[in-house]
């Protein structure tokens, strides 16, 4: 009885959270005219892939997918490459500077993105990185990196020092101990951090708006471009949003076990 109640509550919670996404997918599968019906209906009366055809035929949409992939990949790699040594140094050496860096990274996280957007435009222009995935990824790393450092610091904290010391006794240098012993032990945490960094870039809109023009526009911008002063292309917009959310959903499902393991790894240490 208790179990059934638990499942019912869980089902309701999932329904509430999943409804917007389910509605998005169902709308994308309606014929264009039904997609904009007033009042709207939840379930399609007829199914059609016209919205997908229209969305994918739009100029720049395929390119925007490639740009999103490359930008998110660069952001993820860059965030992990910088966050791993930073978080490891902070947790292992426990210096005052380390604590300040940790608190400072949180402050950066709290800064509204729009406040650094305009200066970043000037910096990227000066570096000739405007309108490139690399420039955009550098900007997005400013969002992803603080979170990555905090997450990884928490994961590294949970690894007993004795493991690293044993590696040092066996002849490893400190970097080798990190690479060969600590990182494999915290691979779940790395996966979680990587996913958060990837999603931070994948869903980012403001920097993409300010820092890209023709070559590096990402899909969130391509989706928003479907709303013009002259109307909202609702059907193709839902189709594109559905397609764009698929990689994130698939990635999360594939790495689900590691994410859960990683989250619990970070939770056991006080």
């Amino acid at each position: 009885m208790k179990r059934a109640l638990l499942w019912t509550v869980a089902g309701l919670v999932v329904l509430v959270y999943a409804f917007p996404f389910v509605y998005l997918v169902l709308t994308s599968l309606k014929p264009p005219v039904d997609a904009i019906a007033v009042p709207p209906t939840v379930l399609p009366q007829r199914f059609s892939l016209d919205n997908y055809r229209t969305a994918l035929a739009r100029e720049g949409v395929a390119d925007s997918f490639l740009n999103s992939v490359s930008t998110a990949a660069i952001t993820t790699v860059l965030s992990l490459a910088l966050a791993v040594p930073a978080a490891w140094g902070i947790t292992r050496y426990r210096t005052r500077a380390g604590r300040v860096l940790l608190a400072g990274s949180l402050l950066v996280r709290m800064t509204p993105a729009v406040a650094i957007g305009v200066p970043l435009m000037g910096i990227m222009g000066g570096l000739r990185l405007s309108d490139t995935p690399t420039g955009l990824a550098l900007a997005q790393t400013t969002i992803a990196l603080p979170l990555a450092i905090w997450l990884l610091a928490s994961f590294f904290e949970s690894v007993p020092r004795e493991i690293e010391e044993a590696a040092l006794v066996d002849g490893c240098s400190r970097p080798a101990a990190l690479w060969r012993v600590i990182l494999p032990v915290t691979s779940g945490g790395l996966a979680v951090t990587g996913i958060f960094a990837f999603l931070a870039s994948w869903n980012e809109f403001l920097f993409a708006l300010l820092l890209t023009s023709l070559r590096a526009q990402t899909t969130p911008l391509a989706i928003a471009n479907l709303q013009t002063q002259f109307g909202l292309d609702w059907g193709p917009m839902t189709a594109l949003a559905t397609l764009y959310s698929l990689p994130a959903v698939v990635l999360t499902l594939l790495l689900q076990r590691r994410i859960v393991a990683g989250l619990s790894l970070g939770a056991v240490k006080g």
Partner: protein, 429 residues
């Protein structure tokens, strides 16, 4: 292959892929600041559709490429605000919505040399006035729009409906020309049991009410030419009474007028739920082929009040940022946009800014909306919105809330306008 080799190979492939895509997958080249053969033009989606035919012709004629950088409407405003205030814009030309012109005026370069007498004569007077801010022309109108009346021909031409209307109101059923006729026809076609309503009432957008304000003879909308707040003058009150009474008193609209915006109204009409809609002229060519009303829609000029027909034009301008590196080339392109303005009429939106461009198409099939559009734009009472940098705030904080409150049962229209006046005075002072 062992695990280490596999990982190395994968990493190598990944790095190669990233390096290959690091310049961006999108086509074109945004060009360096000294490259005179490429211009960058910032616009929103509708502008891209409108300008593409001109850009293609310009490339053919001069060899100069114009990159149309498409951004969402709100995003374009944010980007223009950021880049113009930074003083280092990444673009050479920008498409500017009419309501943004006063806000960006100090950051835009003058283009007085393009406004010859011949040019001014071929543009609608309201647009020429609006393009001039503080004695300087800062934008060339490239396309404009206004609300016209779209109506269901199948209903208006039905002999049974015509006869019933004649019997009930004592005059023939025809596209309405004034407020009284509009109210009569809307009431006549309102049949909730058949899910048919006379018209829509848009409470989430302000432009339509403001068009009625001009029809009522107000010397301006919200502000007069001296910048004084006139939102509670008799014209505004008469227009609000007519507008809100359609919902409150006559109940000729579908449910939810407070939330009804352009998209909702367009969809309601296209699916056959309303017999008439006052809507931007471009919508006529955008009726989907599989819509319930496809092939059954007629167009008439916007309705009139005591001051006759009037509309609020919705133009876009091409402007140059001050201190741009390619101003000479950019001015030449803007001149080409004026010269080849008629090419934009072949786009899916099909809008232009020159009278002569519209006149070329008025008699052609598929362009039936142009005649009524010309009539509305050329009407003496037609005026643009006031040139104030505070306009968007006035709309968001005063006009829309006033309109939405007016659509609640028992609303006191005069008191609402008094409140709006106080709010607007607070915004502009």
């Amino acid at each position: 292959m062992d695990r280490r080799s596999f990982l190395g190979l994968t990493a190598g492939a990944g790095v190669t892929l990233l390096a290959g895509s690091a310049c961006g997958a999108g086509g074109g080249d945004t060009g360096s600041s000294g490259d005179a053969t490429t211009l960058n033009l910032l616009c929103e989606g509708g502008g891209k559709v409108e300008l593409q035919p001109v850009v293609d012709a310009y490339k053919k004629a001069t060899g100069i490429s114009v990159n149309l950088v498409e951004l969402p409407y709100d995003g374009l405003f944010n980007r223009l605000t950021s880049e113009l205030s930074s003083g280092r814009p990444s673009f050479d030309i920008c498409a500017v919505d009419a309501v943004w012109l006063p806000l960006f005026a100090t950051k835009l370069a003058g283009i007085d040399q393009l406004f010859t007498d011949a040019v001014k004569a071929d543009l609608f007077p309201a647009l020429v006035r609006e393009a001039n801010v503080d004695g300087k022309f800062i934008g060339m109108p490239v396309w404009t729009n206004a609300e016209v009346l779209l109506y269901r021909k199948d209903l208006f031409e039905d002999p049974a409906e015509r006869s019933a209307f004649q019997d009930k109101y004592g005059y023939p059923l025809a596209p309405p020309k004034d407020w009284q006729q509009f109210t009569d026809v809307a009431k006549f076609f309102t049949r909730p049991d058949r899910k048919l309503y006379g018209t829509d009432v848009k409470g989430a957008v302000e432009t339509e009410w403001l068009a009625h304000v001009l029809q009522a003879g107000s010397p301006g909308v919200v502000l007069d030419d001296a910048g004084k707040v006139i939102v509670d003058n008799p014209g505004h009150l008469a227009a609000l009474t007519f507008y809100a009474d359609l919902a409150n008193k006559h109940k000729v609209n579908p449910a939810g007028p407070q939330q009804t915006d352009w998209n909702a109204a367009q969809n309601l009409f296209n699916q056959g739920s309303t017999a008439m809609t006052r809507f931007w002229a471009h919508a006529y060519r955008q009726i989907p082929k599989d819509a319930a009303v496809a092939g059954k829609v007629g167009v008439a000029p916007m309705i009139g009040g005591t001051a006759g027909v009037a509309g609020i034009p919705g133009p876009w301008y091409l402007s140059l940022p001050q201190g741009g590196a390619k101003q000479t080339e950019a001015v030449k392109f803007i001149q080409a946009c004026y010269d080849d303005n008629a090419l934009s009429l072949t786009s899916t939106l099909g809008l232009a800014a020159r009278k002569s461009a519209y006149q070329q198409y008025t008699s052609q099939a598929g362009y039936e909306a142009f005649g009524p559009l010309l009539t509305t734009l050329d009407a003496p009472a037609t005026r643009t919105r006031p040139a104030t940098p505070h306009w968007q705030r006035i709309v968001d904080d005063a006009l829309i809330p006033t309109l939405q409150k007016s659509l609640l049962p028992g609303a006191n229209y005069a008191a609402l306008l008094k409140d709006a006046r106080a709010k607007i005075e607070g915004i502009i002072t």
